[in-house]
């Protein structure tokens, strides 16, 4: 068995799709992850609640944000799942799901005939988007790379977890994350984020959020399987005419080497608060070190020039 890579250099030079193996786990289970299919999310927030309950994540304020039904705001130290709500207007046509109709039957005169036909016809109908966001458990995780204590580590499942007994609250992981996931818990100074329920995974259980999701919008499983399932799903939606469906974070060629938790979205990523093309900052780190070295040498040269300059 390979020794664990404590220097982290391999993560700079390797382009592995096996992060657990790359971190020194010889014989390890398959990489596990989430596929969050937002097209069937109903915005119930059961994932948020289940996550808080299972992981003892403290309450972080009961606020009214005015952002549709989202009073969580975003991911942070005390929100490891976040359901986004977007009231989106776009030109749409309805797909008949064959479900019982709501409201007056077609052809019935409007309830308020005095009102104009509605702005819908001009601006498009309201599309209420909901999406449960979570830590992406990146293949190339910037938070893990920059952590100076080794508190953040790669598990045998290929996920990224904080060891709270090691974290010294330096806060470096927070601006390193290209998704704005990990954050500091003010009361105790340390950094916290989704563990993909590392404790449950060890027992062969699925993470709390996936377990609680009533529509299977959050699907948990081996990443390979989820990627296949997601591809089939996006093709199915395209068949049905839902052109706007697209996968996000599924591509191993993207700037973070693909996400362990990826998504099916119905809008551009930035509409959900996700970066459209995130890149792990440490991808440029070898170049940064090189340039810092050149700058240090330039400082020495400058000092030498200044010291010699006075003699002439």
């Amino acid at each position: 068995m390979k020794l664990p890579d404590r220097t982290g250099w391999s993560s700079l030079v390797e382009t592995t799709q096996d992060p657990a193996g790359g971190s020194g786990y010889g014989d390890h289970p398959p990489r596990m992850g989430f596929f969050t299919d937002t097209s069937v999310c109903i915005g119930c927030k059961a994932c948020e609640v289940a996550c808080k309950e299972w992981n003892h994540v403290p309450e972080d304020g009961l606020d009214f944000t005015g952002m549709s039904y989202d009073n969580t705001g975003g991911l942070g130290a005390d929100s490891w799942r976040h359901v986004a709500f977007i009231e989106n207007r776009r030109p749409v046509s309805t797909v008949d799901l064959g479900l019982p109709a709501m409201g007056p039957p077609a052809g019935t005169p409007g309830i308020r005939p005095d009102l104009p036909a509605s702005a819908d016809e001009e601006e498009g109908q309201l599309q209420w988007l909901m999406a449960s966001d979570v830590c992406k458990h990146c293949t190339h995780a910037a938070c893990l790379d920059v952590c100076p204590t080794g508190s953040l580590f790669r598990t045998e499942f290929g996920t990224v977890v904080v060891q709270e007994d090691i974290c010294n609250g330096c806060g470096y992981c927070i601006p390193a994350c290209p998704y704005g996931v990990i954050d500091q818990r003010k009361e105790d100074g340390r950094a916290w984020k989704c563990t993909l329920c590392y404790d449950r995974l060890g027992e062969g259980m699925e993470p709390a959020c996936a377990k609680a999701c009533p529509t299977d919008s959050i699907q948990f499983g081996p990443l390979d399987e989820l990627r296949e399932r997601a591809q089939a799903r996006v093709e199915q939606l395209h068949e049905k005419g839902v052109d706007v469906a697209r996968l996000y974070g599924h591509d191993p060629q993207d700037g973070v080497g693909g996400d362990g938790a990826f998504f099916l979205l119905l809008e551009e990523p930035e509409v959900y608060g996700l970066p459209p093309d995130p890149v792990v900052t440490t991808r440029d780190l070898p170049d940064m070190w090189r340039r810092a070295g050149v700058a240090a040498a330039a400082l020495v040269a400058g000092m030498a020039a200044a010291a010699l300059g006075g003699r002439s």
Binding site: R6, V95, P148, Q184, V234, V244, D277, L299, M303, A306
Partner: protein, 347 residues
């Protein structure tokens, strides 16, 4: 609960579940058509920028400006001063060497104190040294400081007490070797993040930082040296300022819209004040050659300039992290540009 009924023909009334369609489509269902490749569509980028209720994509750094911008300044001052001390020692300018050694040791200790103070769990500072990790500039910096700060303390102590001169000389040389790394690594520290105004400037930032450090060290030298020994610190400050100003100009030009926080708002104002003070300090030093009071004024101005510039760079980073435009827009452009070339290959 399910409403499905089992009939001879199979299940009836099964709810769609995972297979449910999204409520809306942009066109009629297509029969048997197959789309190639991924779900993303080659869209024309939106003229108007979109975000989630204007909320930032990134979580902003929790670092306190006093501690971390202060740390950037002190690291530069210390590193530059160690090198200046060695140069002064070689030239036999004893008073300047003493000022620089004591300055480097004080700035080094203070920078370490600022770093520890900023930790969420300061008692766990030593956890920094439980691993050696080149992917973490903060880890590398901790190891560097762990070697550098005691060395500067030895150099300063030998200088002040006049004892153990060979040890002092070795420590002075050691600090001069590590000093440039201390002055430049902090640029990597902030650039190795997703913060647009920091990361996107990673090519020039180390040069801005060593320039700024040299300027501060030169300032300290002017402040503390006798009027006859002002030549060296003045030249160091000149070269440093030149490097800092020209590198930051290059950096801002190359960064495009992400450079906005360096020009606008509070951070932009700090940057401008820093630049003005750098010029003012150098002019004062040049015009007031051989004048002790002018040296003190110039030195103070130059150190202040370096400090204010670091606060400007720090707050430009915060401003760029808090506005989703700086995260989304460059990435969107990158996708559009890549799309033009790559889509043809993939298709």
């Amino acid at each position: 609960m399910s409403d499905a009924r089992v009939t001879r023909e199979g299940l009836e009334g099964v709810r769609p579940g995972r297979e449910a369609s999204s409520d809306y489509s942009t066109r009629r269902p297509r029969k048997g058509g197959r789309r190639g490749g991924r779900g993303e569509q080659p869209t024309v980028p939106d003229a108007d920028f979109r975000s989630y209720y204007g909320k930032p994509v990134l979580n902003k750094p929790v670092w306190s400006p006093q501690d971390i911008a202060g740390y950037l300044f002190l690291g530069g001052l210390a590193g530059g001063s160690s090198l200046l001390a060695a140069a002064a020692a070689v030239r036999g300018e004893e008073r300047l060497a003493r000022v620089a050694k004591v300055g480097a040791a004080s700035a080094g200790v203070l920078s370490l104190a600022a770093l520890v103070h900023d930790l969420g769990k300061p008692t766990r500072f030593l956890h920094m040294l439980r691993v050696v990790k080149v992917t973490s500039p903060m880890n590398m910096g901790s190891w560097l400081l762990a070697g550098y700060v005691p060395t500067t303390l030895v150099a300063a102590a030998c200088e002040v007490t006049g004892r153990l001169r060979p040890v002092g000389a070795a420590a002075t040389a050691g600090a001069a070797v590590m000093g440039p790394a201390v002055a430049s690594y902090t640029a990597v520290l902030i650039a190795d993040t997703a913060v647009p105004a920091w990361h996107d400037g990673y090519r020039e930032m180390p040069f801005v930082f060593v320039g700024s450090g040299a300027m501060a060290a030169g300032g300290l030298g002017l402040l503390g040296s006798s009027q006859r020994a002002q030549g060296l610190p003045r030249r160091v400050a000149q070269l440093g300022s030149l490097a800092e100003l020209s590198s930051s100009m290059l950096m801002e030009r190359r960064m495009g819209m992400v450079a906005e926080p360096y020009k606008k708002g509070r951070s932009g104002a700090l940057m401008r004040v820093g630049q003005v003070l750098a010029v003012a300090g150098n002019v004062t030093a040049l015009l007031g050659r051989g004048n002790r009071a002018a040296g003190v004024a110039a030195g103070t101005t130059l150190m202040l300039s370096s400090a204010i510039t670091r606060f400007g760079i720090f707050s430009a980073g915060i401003a760029s992290a808090q506005d989703p435009r700086y995260t989304v827009q460059p990435q969107r452009e990158r996708l559009t540009n890549a799309g033009r070339g790559a889509r043809a290959d993939a298709g």
